[in-house]
């Protein structure tokens, strides 16, 4: 069986990739998908702990988090579509009316 740290490391790597995606990308969709990646990294970590510590509640948490992620996706994509309609771009750097 694959030992626990491997799973955790994969989770951490996914998390960092997610963060990097949010910070480095200019495309709102990619930023948003990277955030989903962060949530999935957290899910993977929780399920790992749950499995290796023999705790069942972690499984439930993961479902909760997936539901939350879905809700966020619905709202987020709607906002992005609205933006695209109004501004015809989803380049994050174009949205700087509000500053200082």
């Amino acid at each position: 069986m694959v030992p626990m740290p491997y799973y955790l490391i994969v989770g951490a790597v996914l998390f960092v990739i997610g963060i990097a995606g949010v910070i480095l990308s200019r495309n709102l969709i990619i930023m948003f998908m990277s955030i989903e990646l962060m949530l999935n990294a957290a899910n993977l970590t929780i399920i790992t702990f749950s499995r290796f510590l023999n705790l069942m509640d972690g499984h439930v948490f993961v479902f909760l988090i997936m539901a939350v992620a879905a809700a966020e996706a619905a709202v987020g994509l709607a906002i992005i579509i609205m933006l695209f309609r109004n501004r015809e771009t989803i380049d994050a750097d174009k949205f700087n009316l509000l500053k200082w």
Binding site: I23, L24, M31, D93, N96, L98
Partner: protein, 646 residues
């Protein structure tokens, strides 16, 4: 037995609410009746309680009444309560009494102003806050009053906000005061933290157990309180707002910036004297700041031409005296001077207001002169006040000022240097006050033709308060005649239940006075000061009255007297060269360089620096999402990094 102390601040609060809520709906007559009546009732109630207090034996003259529990939670327990003892009795009577007179005067002075109702609303709110300040039985409520008077002062300085200078002056007063309040609040925290209470009586009871004599903590606490006092009472370095505060209506200057609010700092220190006596370092700082301010402001007053500005600097200087008294642990002398100063300085301001009123707003003394004929009542009362502030024997200012000078010489905390500087300042005071008097009321009429036609004595509603204050400025001192002159120093005795035996008055002084040597010294010092003051009045007379007349005569006839007169003139010139010129030079230097550039600049500079930091930091907020997430991540990394490499 209940004394209903609450009533004293309640009347002005009601007046404020009535006039404030019905602003613009009441006619002027009702507004003035409500406003003056409220303050008058406070005064009468204060007077009644004062006699109640006198009827009690001296030791039990402390009435404390809790109105309601303000913050009732565990160890953090503060009441809204009032404390009526000799000290607050004096303050209540001064505030409501002088306040009432100034309210009356304002009816005449503000009669044609469009903001009449607003004015009296603010004024009542001010009296309410001030009475809360002096009657509070704990530091927190005192702070509430403290902030309240600051707010009213700000509103009233900026009363004529159409004038940009007035709005700016209001803002400046407010912000400078906040620096002082900052100190006050921190001092308050330290007191609360160490004694677990803010109630005066509890704090003063506990203080000796909690603080070691002269320890760092008590020194810090008292220094912070003193910082608060320097803001409110316009001492170095936070005095800058007071001269600008003269933008407000003149009765406001009389009430707030001369008689009552600015003395709050002195009152606060006198109230906390138990704490201050435990911190000799602080007392020394208080005395030095006080005497430095007294001298500094008096010097500046020498050359000012705006009649109200002279009086403003004079106020700063006199407040310096009061702090000297506190600094040498002669708290009751400080309160005594506070009271007499309230009488004569209010009178001076009101008199100046009467002059300004008559001259349709002219404040520059170079365009006054010869008003004695046109405004006899104003002149005579003004003369009385000038004599009083100069310290001429027989008037109130003499007794209180001399008391302070003597205490600064004889007290354990005093020194001959403080006395000498104080004396020199007294000379300067006499000089600039008589300069003001002569320039305004004597000599030729230098105003323009149009203004000359309008010259008139002020209406009764204004001159009656002047007269009453004039009487008070004369007799106000007689309650505190020192032992050496055969008096009983009743004032000091009256305050003794509050001040205890901390000062070097009471029986000790009586013994000293009768034992000869010290008594002789006291009389001698008194004599010196009177002679020097008279000399400087003469000097002012020569420079601002006689010379002008002489010059005229010389021009008229080149008679044989000419040379002798000229010789005399040389003597005056000598005076001028040796004494006056350097003084005037110093005065201008202090005013233009130290006051305007250094201290004012420093305070403004502080504001500018904060503003610059703000401007530098703003671009970080660039509006770009990527920048935001980066900063966010940076925060995460820094915090985790701190944790790992801790």
């Amino acid at each position: 037995m209940s004394y209903y102390l609450l009533l004293i601040p309640l009347f002005p609060l009601l007046g404020f609410l009535i006039n404030g809520l019905l602003l613009g709906k009441l006619n002027k007559k009702i507004v003035s009746i409500v406003a003056c009546g409220a303050v008058g009732l406070s005064f009468l109630w204060g007077l009644k309680l004062f006699f109640n207090l006198l009827a009690l034996p001296a030791d039990s003259r402390i009435i404390e009444e809790i109105a309601f529990t303000w913050i009732p939670s565990g160890e953090f327990n503060v009441n809204v309560g009032f404390l009526f003892d000799p000290l607050s009795a004096v303050m209540v009577l001064v505030v409501s009494g002088v306040g009432f007179l100034i309210h009356l005067y304002s009816i005449g002075y503000m009669h044609d102003d469009s903001g009449y109702g607003r004015y009296f609303t603010y004024l009542n709110l001010f009296i309410f806050s001030m009475l809360t300040l002096v009657l509070a039985n704990n530091y927190l409520l005192m702070f509430v009053g403290w902030e309240g008077v600051g707010l009213c002062s700000y509103l009233l300085i900026g009363f004529w906000f159409e004038k940009q200078t007035a709005a700016d002056a209001g803002k400046k007063a407010f912000i400078v005061n906040r620096i002082g309040d900052f100190g006050f609040l921190l001092g308050l925290f330290i007191i609360f933290w160490s004694t677990g209470s803010l109630n005066f009586i509890t704090v003063f009871d506990k203080a000796p157990q909690v603080f070691a004599m002269g320890a760092g903590l008590i020194t810090a606490a008292t220094l912070l309180l003193f910082l608060g006092a320097t803001g409110k009472s316009a001492q170095i370095p936070l005095y800058v707002w007071l001269p600008d505060a003269m933008e407000g209506p003149t009765p406001v200057s009389a009430l707030i910036h001369a008689a009552t609010m600015v003395t709050a700092g002195v009152y606060m220190i006198a109230r906390s004297h138990v704490l201050f006596l435990m911190a000799p370092t602080t007392l020394m700082v208080v005395a030095i700041v006080g005497v430095a301010t007294a001298l500094f402001a008096a010097t500046i007053a020498l050359t000012q031409n705006d009649i109200k500005r002279v009086l403003a600097y004079s106020t700063i200087s006199q407040l310096g005296y009061m702090f000297v008294a506190c600094g040498v642990a002669a708290f009751s002398a400080g309160i005594f001077h506070l009271m007499t100063h309230a009488f004569f300085k209010a009178l001076l301001f009101l008199g100046a207001g009467s002059v300004i009123h008559s001259l349709s707003g002219q404040q520059d003394m170079r365009f006054m002169g010869g008003l004695k004929r046109h405004m006899p009542t104003t002149f005579w009362t003004f003369l009385v006040a000038t004599l009083a502030i100069a310290g001429i024997p027989g008037l109130s200012g003499f007794f209180s000022k001399d008391e302070i000078l003597w205490k600064s010489f004889s007290s354990d905390y005093g020194s001959i240097w403080i006395w000498a500087i104080g004396l020199f300042t007294a000379m300067l005071t006499a000089f600039y006050m008589f300069r003001l008097l002569f320039l305004t009321f004597y000599g030729g009429e230098r105003m323009d033709h149009h203004a000359k036609e309008h010259l008139h004595e002020s209406p009764k509603i204004m001159t009656v308060p002047l007269t009453i204050l004039g009487v008070l400025a004369i007799v106000g001192g007689y309650i505190g005649i020192p032992h050496i002159l055969g008096g009983g120093n009743n004032f000091e005795k009256f305050l003794e239940p509050v001040m205890g035996n901390v000062q070097h008055g009471g029986e000790e002084a009586m013994v000293m006075a009768s034992s000869g040597q010290n008594g002789g010294t006291e009389l001698m010092l008194m004599g010196i000061s009177v002679v020097l003051i008279l000399a400087s009045i003469y000097l002012a007379y020569v420079l601002y009255v006689k010379n002008i007349a002489l010059a005229g005569k010389i021009r008229q006839s080149l008679s044989g007297l000419h040379k002798i007169l000229y010789g005399k003139y040389y003597v005056d010139e000598l005076y001028g060269a040796v004494i006056i010129r350097p003084l005037i030079g110093l005065s201008l230097f202090l005013w233009k360089i130290v006051d305007v550039i250094l201290i004012d600049g420093l305070l403004n500079g502080l504001a500018t620096i904060i503003g610059d930091i703000s401007k530098i930091m703003r671009p970080v907020q660039s509006g770009l999402l990527r920048r935001y997430t980066t900063v966010f991540l940076l925060g995460v990394v820094l915090i985790l990094g701190y944790f790992v490499f801790r």
